[in-house]
Each structure stands twice: as C-alpha cells, then as structure tokens.
C-alpha cells in the first residue's frame, strides 16, 4: 500500500504539476536566469575565479562554474519548495480534504510528490550541460567521478527530505506557501551560493550548517570544479546522508501533527 501510494502520488504530481511544458521551461530558465544574475553581480569586479576555503585547503574555482553549480542546486531547492506548493494548489482547488480523507499514508503522499521532482532534477542537469556549452571556457576538473555522483545524489536526497518537511507546513496552514517562499532568499544568502561560505559573518555560519544546500554546494563544487576526491568531501557527504535521514523522520512526525492541527482549527478548506 505504501509504495502504491508513493507511485500514484508521483504519477499524479508529474501529470498535474510537473510534466508540463511550462514546468520544464521553468526548470531550464530558472538556473540559467539566476546564473546570469550572479555572473553580472560579479562582473564589475572583473574576476574570473573564486577561492573556496575548505578545511586547510583553498580551492580556486572558475567563476562561471561556481555560479552555475550554485544555480543548479539552488534551483533544485526552489523546486522542492514548489513541491510544497502542490499542497497549496490542492487547497484552493478544494482537493486537500479529499486527499486527507483517504487512508493513504501521509508520508507516502509526501514522498511521491518529492520523487516527482526527480524529473526536474534530470532536466536541470540538462540545463547545466547547456550552460557548459554556452560558456565554453568553464574549467571542469573531475578526478573522482564516484565522488561527483555521490555528491549529486546525496544533495538530491537531503533536499528532497527537507522539501518533505516544508510540505507539511502547507498542510497545516494556507500561509504555508508564504513561509516556504520566505526561505528562498535567506537560503540563497546563507548557503554559499552567491559568495564563498568563508566570507559569511561568523555568527551566521551555524544557520548555514543547518541547510543541506550548504553541504551540497560544497561537495559538488569541489568534486566537479576542484578535483576533490571522495575522501576530501567525506564530511559534507556524511552530513548530507545524516540530513536525509533526519529530515525524513522529521517529515513523518510533522505531517501527522500538521494534519491534526489543521483539522482541529478547520483550516483545510481555507485558501
């Protein structure tokens, strides 16, 4: 029953929300657009590289690659927020009650919606390749393909699990979509997407370390552009794996709580 619900929800999400021309366009336009924005932000400084401090080592990363990777992963994070917005859409379409009327596992519903984002992730990788073609001087430096694959997969799983947590807010309240939209800019700022993490004021770093995007960016940039091995990025990979588990458990607890509260306060039909 659990896997059946996961599959059904994933198929529905793909058909209704994701597998449409405009969503695919957006999955392409978002990383390219934001990437250009970052590139222009750096342009006045006439620089072609960025120094990333990781432990005792300083990696010099190509600027274009730095911004594109940042946009790729950040755009996926935004897509995870949109997964939550599907509950918001259920709300104003009047189908949220019907969904929660069923005996289907709520975690399975969350997981199905999050898995549907896999389509967007694949499409975003296409965006990455296109960006590489457009900026032909990007210096890719991969010494350990396994490390790169692990970085991409664990970034995906950790952000997916976080996305499931955020979806529960949309169950609880019609203001859920505002809350998740709030997160976009702070996450952009704190995750090291725009500038190297070591430039962030020290008192903000604990907040950065709560975000899977921070570690995802670290791992993918270092393995794709800095030639890091799996041993070099063991810390961010281990953190991402732990975050996947923790956020998944948290989502399971939160969704039931959110549903009970929403039913107590009769907010399921408000939009």
């Amino acid at each position: 029953m659990f896997t059946r619900v996961v599959f059904a929800e994933a198929v529905k999400s793909l058909k209704v929300y994701f597998f449409s021309t405009r969503t695919l366009f957006w999955a392409l336009a978002l990383p390219l657009g934001n990437g250009l924005y970052l590139y222009f932000l750096y342009l006045p400084f006439a620089t072609k590289s960025v120094d990333l401090q990781f432990g005792a080592t300083t990696y010099t990363i190509d600027l274009v690659g730095f911004t594109i990777i940042g946009q790729l992963l950040y755009s996926f994070f935004t897509m995870m927020l949109l997964a939550g917005a599907s509950f918001d859409a259920e709300r104003w379409q009047g189908t949220l009650e019907v969904l929660l009327l069923s005996p289907a596992s709520r975690v399975a519903i969350l997981l199905g919606g999050a898995l549907a984002n896999a389509v967007n992730y694949v499409w975003m990788l296409v965006a990455l390749v296109l960006s590489w073609v457009a900026f032909i001087h990007v210096g890719i430096f991969v010494t350990d393909p396994l490390a790169l694959c692990g970085s991409l997969l664990l970034s995906y799983s950790a952000m997916m699990a976080l996305g499931m947590c955020l979806e529960t807010v949309d169950v609880y309240s019609r203001r859920g979509s505002i809350f998740t939209a709030w997160l976009q800019e702070p996450v952009m700022f704190l995750s090291g997407q725009i500038f190297p993490l070591q430039s962030l004021p020290v008192f903000l770093l604990p907040l950065s370390y709560l975000l899977p995007l921070t570690f995802g960016l670290m791992a993918v940039r270092l393995t794709l552009l800095g030639g890091a091995s799996i041993y070099d990025v063991r810390m961010p990979l281990a953190t991402l794996a732990s975050m996947t588990l923790i956020f998944f458990i948290l989502a399971s607890l939160l969704v039931n709580y959110a549903e009970r509260r929403a039913k107590t306060k009769a907010t399921l039909t408000q939009f």
Binding site: F19, S20, T21, Q270, F271
Partner: protein, 314 residues
C-alpha cells in the same frame, strides 16, 4: 506532452429559440448537461454563441454587451462569485461600485438587502466565515445590488436547507417579480420548484428546446391526463411489458427508487392512463402477475411527468 490533443465538438445548445416577456418568471428546466447554464451565461454576456443572436431588453448581448451588463445580474448556485476575504458588506459595496450604483444610494441599498436576507448581524464578518446558506443569501444580495431589470437565477437553491430554499423562492416570486416587476429567468432541475414559481417553462434536452409554454398548457399535451404512481415489488420486464399492452395505458415509465419492502426491492412505475377509471384494471393486472403493490397514488400530470415525457430521461 508535446502533441496536440484531438478535440471533440460538443453542441451545448442547438437552435434554441424562445422569448420571455417583461415581468415574467420563466423557468428553464432540464437535466444536467442540457444547456441551461450555457443559456444563462450567453444572456448575461459571459459566453458568446457560436452562431445566432440573443437579445436582452432589445439589446444584442454581443454588440451591446456593455449596456446589457448594466441591466442584468446573475445569481448562481454554489459558493463562488464572492470574495471570501472581504466581509459581506464590503462585497456588496464593491459590486455597487462596479455597477456604478448612485453613491448616495449605496449604503441604504446595501443595508436593506442585508436586512432582507437576514445577514445584518454578520455583515461585517468575512465571507469565509459564513455558512453555505449565508453565502447563498449574500449572493442574492449581490444579484440585486444594481437593481437589475432582468435577473438570472442559475439553480439558486442548490445545496440550501429546505426552509431557506422555500423562503428564497417566496422572496423571488412575491418580492422580486410580483412587487418589483422584474423579469426573471430561473434554471433548475427541481421540478417542484418550477411548478411553484414559474409563469412559463421551457424544457431543454441535450441542447435542444423541446417544449415551451405555461405548465398547465403543456400538461394538456401529455398523451394522457392522469398518472398512477405505483410502488411495487417483484415486477419483471415481462410484467411491465404486458402492462404497457393494456388498453387504457398510454405509457409506463420506470424511475429510480431506493427502498425495500420485506426484503424485496421496490420499483417505482409512473403509468399514464387516459382516465381515472383505469385504476382497478391496472391494479388487478399487477396482482395477476404476482406483483405486490406497496402503494399507489393517482394524480394529475406534473412537471416531472412532462419532463420525462419530453426528455425521455429519468
């Protein structure tokens, strides 16, 4: 995802041609999907017909759409057409502005309508806090805010409590039509509602207007003047077929019925006969066929009979 979908053309209305007189309460009846809402939406300029013309008070709904919108309004069943985040009063004031109701009349008119519909106490609460019945009553207020010459009511009592629906029907018939002289087009699939309210009715079936006239005149067109409503058990197809062959019987219509008698399913039959003298013959036929007659009711033709006669639907 990228391919073009094939489209099937559905003819929502087909050669529909009728007139409504000033001050008349006209009922447009038909099952779901017959084209009632489509007709209403064309007349209040929310839809454009593919061909043909429609006029309201002499104004073409397409060419003179702006003028038509000033003199009509529509109340639909269901809970939409209101701003949920505004209060009842704010909704009405807003629509008063959109309809350019004279400013000095707005407050009085809003207050009067709210009082008329029993919403004065809740006028300053957001609509999302209203019950379904309250929202529907507020819709009626919205429908009257511009004092329209023509009012379209599209299943206005849908989902309302029995007593509220009855009050609404009385209000429309007595106040809106008789007292204020407005012209009303009502769509409904509750036959008793049309019977209670309408001066004339039209029957729509699959987009076609199959009959128009006063209910009493239309009833006279039924092949027979009486109907026997039978509730029976053990009625087989053979039994019903043989009933149809009886001489005084003009038509036998099987309708849906939920119920059992002593563990046996009850069937409801409407038997059109030409005279009330046919009753003993019909009853004894059923007894001879070993059917048990749970109840029978002899009545003159109703709109329901007309509806089934013209549309052939249950």
């Amino acid at each position: 995802m990228f391919g073009r979908k094939s489209t099937t053309v559905i003819r929502a209305l087909d050669q529909v041609d009728f007139e409504i007189q000033d001050g008349e309460l006209f009922g447009l009846l038909g099952p779901n999907g017959a084209g009632k809402t489509t007709t209403v939406k064309i007349l209040c300029t929310l839809l454009e017909p593919t061909s043909g013309h429609a006029f309201v008070k002499g104004y073409d709904v397409i060419k003179d759409g702006g003028h038509v919108r000033k003199i009509v309004n529509m109340v639909a069943g269901g809970e939409r057409m209101l701003y949920y985040r505004l209060t009842g009063r704010e909704n009405l004031k807003y629509f008063a502005d959109l309809y350019d109701v004279p400013k000095k009349e707005v407050t009085t008119r809003v207050n009067n309508l709210l009082e008329l519909m029993g919403l004065s106490d809740r006028a300053d609460d957001e609509v999302e806090k209203y019950s379904k019945g309250m929202r529907q009553r507020l819709q009626v207020c919205r429908g009257l805010i511009n004092d329209p010459e023509v009012l379209f009511l599209d299943e206005p009592t849908l989902g309302l409590d029995v007593n509220i629906a009855k009050d609404l029907r009385n209000f429309i018939r007595e106040k809106v039509v008789r007292e204020q002289g407005k012209t009303v087009l009502l769509t409904t699939h509750y036959m008793y509602e049309a019977e209670e309210m309408c001066d004339r009715v039209g029957f729509l079936s699959k987009g076609k207007l199959v009959a128009v006239g006063k209910p009493e005149e239309l009833k006279r067109e039924l092949p027979s003047g009486f109907s026997i409503e039978l509730l029976v058990t053990r009625a087989t197809e053979e039994t019903i077929g043989s009933l149809r062959q009886l001489e005084p019987v003009k038509k036998v219509i099987e309708t849906d019925y939920e119920g059992e008698a002593e563990g046996e399913k009850i069937d409801r039959l409407i038997v059109n006969v030409d005279s009330d003298k046919a009753v003993p013959q019909v009853l004894s036929h059923m007894a001879n066929k070993h059917c048990r007659v749970v109840s029978f009711n002899l009545r003159g033709p109703t709109l329901e009979d007309l509806f089934m006669f013209y549309t052939g639907e249950k």
